[in-house]
């Protein structure tokens, strides 16, 4: 598996898109720091970008890579290599190179600006960690969708729909249910509903760490009570980890049974 990972990773970091992605974050980091002139504020703005963009890029890259390397995958399948290793290697190659672009692209401007001397370093690391989680989750989901759909257009469509659902539609449904059921106590419901969506969970996690939860009013207090504690933090991390592991298991399961 490590060999496949190595080659997928090299193949990707040499492709133009990895550079584009890296340069985008590099530019974004510099521009935000220049405009805000403050590390903490830049982290908040970045969060809004990362929470939506990272899953989208992960989804699109994952689907594109899977379909583009189909013939090469077939070449590998005829070699004495375990099937699982081929797909796991490709998955970690894609997710790893995207995470590296993210971490380097944002890390370089922030470190140059003096992140290491500021007290926002923990917030910034949390941002990168959730960014990495979101990358692994969405690349995994997109691989599962791609391996289940022979038809490229269909696979692409489903993957983008999934992103749209989790990034946009889910919030809408969530808000609507809050309004419809406002007569009832919704604390537990909103906690659970937030935890079930990796994008929402990441957002809340970062917001609470940034100590701006007071802006969220009563709900914020409840969220703070749960997610703000060490236990809540660990539970959220565990849920993100679960979100990462489930697609990987699904990928392994699908890979074992698929005909090429």
């Amino acid at each position: 598996m490590l060999k496949i990972l190595k080659y997928s990773f090299y193949d990707l970091i040499r492709s133009r898109w990895s550079y584009v992605y890296f340069l985008f974050y590099l530019a974004l980091g510099f521009v935000l720091l220049f405009l805000n002139n403050d590390v903490s504020k830049a982290v908040i703005t970045l969060m809004n970008v990362i929470i939506v963009l990272v899953p989208l890029i992960g989804t699109i890259f994952g689907v594109m890579y899977y379909y583009n390397s189909r013939e090469f995958t077939e070449l590998l399948l005829a070699q004495p290599i375990n099937r699982r290793s081929i797909f796991m290697g490709q998955y970690f190659g894609v997710a790893g190179s995207l995470t590296m672009s993210l971490a380097l692209g944002l890390g370089i401007p922030f470190v140059l600006y003096g992140l290491l001397r500021s007290n926002a370093i923990f917030d910034f690391s949390l941002l990168l960690v959730t960014g990495a989680f979101l990358t692994f989750i969405f690349v995994g989901l997109s691989f599962v969708i791609a391996i289940s759909n022979e038809n490229k257009i269909k696979g692409f469509g489903y993957a983008v729909l999934l992103w749209l659902f989790l990034a946009v539609v889910y919030d809408g449904l969530f808000l609507m249910s809050l309004i419809v059921f406002e007569e009832y106590p919704l604390d537990t419901f909103s906690l659970v509903a937030t935890a079930l969506n990796p994008i929402d969970l990441s957002r809340i996690l970062i917001l609470l760490k940034l100590d701006i939860s007071a802006l969220l009013g009563y709900t914020g207090a409840i969220f703070k009570k749960f997610f703000g504690t060490d236990l809540g933090f660990l539970v959220s991390m565990a849920i993100l980890l679960l979100w990462t592991v489930l697609p990987i298991l699904g990928l392994g399961h699908k890979a074992k049974r698929k005909d090429f």
Binding site: Y7, E74, L75, A78, Q79, I81, N82, F260
Partner: protein, 237 residues
Amino acid sequence: MTIKIKDLHKKFGKNQVLKGVDLTIDEGHIYAILGPNGSGKTTLIKSILGMVIPNKGQITVLEKPIKKDWKYRKQINYLPQIANFPPNIKVKELIHMIKDLRNSAADETELITLFGLEPFLNKKLSTLSGGTKQKVNIVLTFMFDSPLIILDEPTTGLDPKALIRLKELIQKEKAQGKTILITSHIMQFVEEVADEIVYLLEGEIYFKGSIETLLEQTEQTNFEHAIAAITTIGSHA
């Protein structure tokens, strides 16, 4: 025997592609797997390679059942039908990479000279023409020393010179006692290289035997016409 297939069934959705194939492939011969489009040739080959998972039946390669195994593929060199490689790497790197992945000794220098690929070694695969890609594909297949060689449409895109080299290469491997499976639609090529014909029709083996037997049974003098007339044979081989 090198390969033994028993009662192999494969269905893609509603489409029953293989309907109980029984086949034994003996060591040291060249077999041509023929049949009209959609008769299940590639599915049969991919089942042997473990790329397609059969619904029913057993396949044994070199005395070992292949189900849930992957190490047996070390004994097989496979030339896939369409050569499409990762675009961002160079020919040299691809050869190195496959060697690294297979983890076995390989001799590619002679093959590279044979097909005149030296000028392309430092070029990226995306810049190569179809025929050159196929040559790279052939080098990747023949550089390992394995007892079983499977070639899916090996002649695609090759110029006459390369085609002659390929035929010589196949004969050389045969002389070393290797077993070779070939699919091709170029009947002249098949006639020149194959010892045995396996003719698939609608997912079953319709004929298996030597070219002479085929000519006799179909009462034809020309191999190409014999293949075309094969469905007129009443008895199954």
